[in-house]
């Protein structure tokens, strides 16, 4: 395809992406290399409706305005924010490695650092949920495809429900169902005959319920994409495979799966990426005590009473880096396919 035609086709979406994604990313990256100016503090009297007046410190805004005007981005800090305790914690890790009482101690102390704690759950979520959700979605797609036509519509709708219900409320309702008095929680207690069983109190069970929820909400996506892909499987290839005496399983293995492979790459890409940014279930399940994720760290930085843009920016950049590392195998595969296409 000539360059000119190519760019004529792609220009509108490029412009949108550059303006609203690329530029903000650049500003976030720049911001993550800066910290605020040293604040000039003054003590002033502060009177409130209760408790009368007290001495409290304030930021001297006039003096700060001058500093801000001279250097609007704040002080340059290089990779300082990336390496501090809230992120990669290089110094702390060094201290832990040089002074510890064994492997268990190292793991426990690294897990105590917020970034690594979040990373641990994020990775587990990513690698457990993605393959399971894809396998489940594929199985549902095959099964739905085999259903009589009339029942397909409703089944597709119900299959999409986990994805459709706003995660905000969806996880809230599920969270209520798994609490000790909820329908699922109470049933599990009966089933295991253990009245103290609580899915929310133990870290292991909290992780398990989050992972289960992850598979439940992610499966419909794989299902829809695979189902749409199944509609394009060439009928004559299948028929000739049947004539050659291929069994059902062989037809799936040698015709359907290769046909869906590009779509599977795509689904894997999207799911890995979305699961790496897992956030809503943690808030919805009130699981902050036992599970945090990188996106939750960003949220925590930005939603507090004092917002830490630099810190949130650094975590975001680390998230992007993490996604790139995760996607490497898929990217290399895409690269090969792409070169293949050129030839």
């Amino acid at each position: 395809m000539p360059h000119k035609t190519f760019f004529a086709f792609i220009l509108p979406s490029l412009v949108a992406m550059v303006l609203f994604i690329a530029l903000p990313i650049v500003s976030v990256v720049v911001q993550s290399f800066h910290v605020e100016h040293g604040r000039i503090l003054v003590e002033v009297e502060n009177c409130q409706p209760f408790g009368g007046c007290t001495k409290e410190t304030r930021v001297d805004t006039a003096a700060m305005a001058e500093l801000q005007a001279a250097q609007p981005m704040g002080q340059f800090n290089g990779f300082g924010t990336y390496l501090n305790r809230s992120h990669l914690a290089v110094d702390e890790i060094g201290a832990i490695l040089s002074d510890n009482t064994g492997f268990g101690n190292i793991v426990a102390r690294i897990y105590n650092l917020p970034f690594y704690k979040a990373l641990a759950f994020t990775l587990v979520f990513c690698f457990v949920v993605t393959p399971l959700a894809m396998a489940l979605g594929f199985a549902i797609a095959l099964a739905v495809n085999a259903l009589p036509k009339v029942s397909k519509g409703p089944v597709i709708f119900f299959s999409l429900l986990p994805m459709i219900i706003t995660p905000l409320v969806g996880s809230l309702i599920l969270y209520w169902m798994i609490q000790a008095n909820g329908i699922i929680g109470a049933t599990l207690q009966n089933l295991f005959n253990d009245p103290t069983l609580s899915l929310r109190a133990s870290p292991v069970l909290t992780w398990a319920s989050l992972l289960f929820y992850g598979v439940w909400t992610n499966a419909p996506f794989s299902f829809v994409v695979f189902y749409a892909g199944l509609q394009t499987v060439p009928g004559d290839t299948l028929e000739s495979a049947m004539i050659d005496g291929a069994s059902r399983w062989e037809r799936i293995r040698y015709v359907i799966i290769p046909h869906l492979a590009p779509l599977a790459t795509f689904v894997a890409l999207v799911q890995l990426m979305d699961n790496f940014r897992v956030f809503e279930p943690i808030v919805g399940f009130s699981a902050e005590a036992n599970a945090t994720s990188l996106s939750w760290l960003i949220f925590n930085d930005l939603s507090g009473d004092a917002q830490l843009f630099g810190s949130a920016g650094a975590t975001s950049v680390l998230t992007i880096a993490g996604v790139i590392v995760l996607l490497m195998p898929v990217l290399i595969r895409t690269w090969r396919e792409f070169n293949h296409k050129v030839v």
Binding site: C47, R85, P203, A287
Partner: protein
């Protein structure tokens, strides 16, 4: 039903007062009033009352938005500001002060603030920066029948609560007699701040951003917080303020320190199990460690006027807001909040907040770096509360997290 009823009543009042409203406000000249506030009933009421001042030449719009804390700084830092009024609380006023985005109100108070009371004026460095109109605090809710049956008197301190909890648990009346909003995040950090305020100690070294909680007061607070968890439902780490309210209304717990703003919803007859409402007593917040200060933070909500707007708009905004929080509005809606406005008659739901304030509780600190400490506490205390970390380690983690953030914020 209750909410519908309340809304109908307040709508009725709006209709009644609407006729007189234009005369009451008497804002002269053209202009525009744009209000940014949080999104809950009392503030929506203030906004709609303020909007009565609109005339042909004066427009009044309100954006009641749950994201107001994230919006206010960028919205007020442009010129002219997107909003002329920002409704804030102790904590959310701080970013506006830090960036110098709100104007002193002394002139406006002198000219248009006849209906305001002196204690409504939030003065910083001698200048009025905000006008408070409602107050809030956490305080003790307890079940008189359960405590009586266990033979304990009204708890005055956390030590009393622990003893009472032990007595109730031993009597077998209730397995989890205590509830607290200790969900990691804002709630858990607020619990620590509350208890620490009760020790009378300061969070920071005087005049600097150096953290000072790493001492016996901090340890005492953490010890007490953890001791209470022995009497809580095992799911306690997932309970926020609305969660413990539900537990309490279901009759699952006997004592809790809960927001006064939720008292109205608790002591109405709706949604509570048999006997809960009749036996509920609202009392001052408990003290801690033999101190005499109720161990909770006092909060106020108030309005501020943006700096980057014309003086005409500022004057119109101030007058509209003063109308919004007028004694008439408060007289018509006494049950909606604990108002700080003249002529407010506290109802049965406000006694806890008032007792706590009278007991000498301290206000939530307004230091510029308090928000950073709150965030650090919100993430770092979870393991301690879960019982997988000791108090010294938890304090060390908080300190490390706070110092990292404070360095980034330029305070250290």
């Amino acid at each position: 039903m209750k909410l519908m009823l309340k809304t109908t009543v307040s709508l009725g009042v709006l209709c009644l007062t609407a006729g007189a409203a234009f005369a009451d406000c008497g804002i002269e000249g053209a202009g525009s009033v744009r209000i940014l506030s949080n999104d809950f009933e009392a503030l929506r009421l203030v906004n709609t009352t303020a909007a009565e001042c609109a005339t042909d030449s004066l427009t009044i719009t309100a954006n009641a938005n749950a994201e107001h804390k994230n919006l206010q700084v960028p919205a007020l830092s442009i010129n002219p500001a997107e909003y002329t009024v920002a409704v804030v609380a102790n904590n959310s006023i701080v970013p506006l002060l830090n960036d110098d985005l709100i104007r002193p109100l002394d002139d406006l108070v002198a000219e248009y603030g006849a209906s305001l009371q002196p204690n409504q004026l939030i003065k910083i460095d001698g200048k009025t920066m905000a006008i408070a109109f409602m107050g809030n605090a956490q305080h003790l809710f307890y079940r008189k029948d359960i405590l009586d049956a266990a033979g304990v008197a009204e708890p005055k301190s956390y030590e009393d609560i622990l003893a009472a909890a032990e007595a109730i648990k031993a009597s077998g009346a209730m397995e989890y007699p205590v509830a607290a909003s200790v969900k990691p995040g804002w709630d858990l950090a607020a619990e620590f701040v509350n208890a620490y305020l009760g020790t009378g100690a300061e969070f920071f070294a005087p005049g600097s951003a150096e953290l000072a909680i790493d001492n016996e007061n901090g340890l005492k607070v953490l010890e007490t917080m953890r001791a209470l968890t022995a009497y809580m439902d095992p799911d306690y780490l997932t309970f926020d303020a609305n969660g413990i309210k539900a537990e309490y209304e279901a009759g699952n717990t006997a004592m809790m320190v809960e927001w006064g703003s939720l008292a109205g919803a608790i002591i109405d007859e709706e949604g509570a199990a048999e006997g809960v409402v009749a036996n509920t007593v609202l009392a001052a917040a408990p003290t801690i460690g033999g101190g005499s200060i109720p161990a909770v933070a006092l909060w106020w909500d108030g309005f501020t006027i943006a700096k980057n707007i014309s003086d005409e708009d500022a004057a119109a905004s101030f007058q509209a807001m003063v109308h919004g929080i007028s004694p008439e509005m408060v007289a018509a809606n006494p049950a909606v909040a604990t108002w700080l406005v003249a002529g407010y008659e506290p109802g049965p739901a406000a006694v806890g907040v008032i007792a706590t304030a009278n007991g000498g509780a301290r206000a939530y600190p307004m230091q510029p770096y308090m928000g950073l400490l709150h965030t650090a506490l919100s993430a770092e205390l979870a393991e301690f509360m879960a019982g997988t970390e000791d108090a010294a380690q938890a304090l060390a983690d908080v300190k490390a997290a706070y110092e990292t953030a404070a360095r980034e914020g330029g305070y250290l």
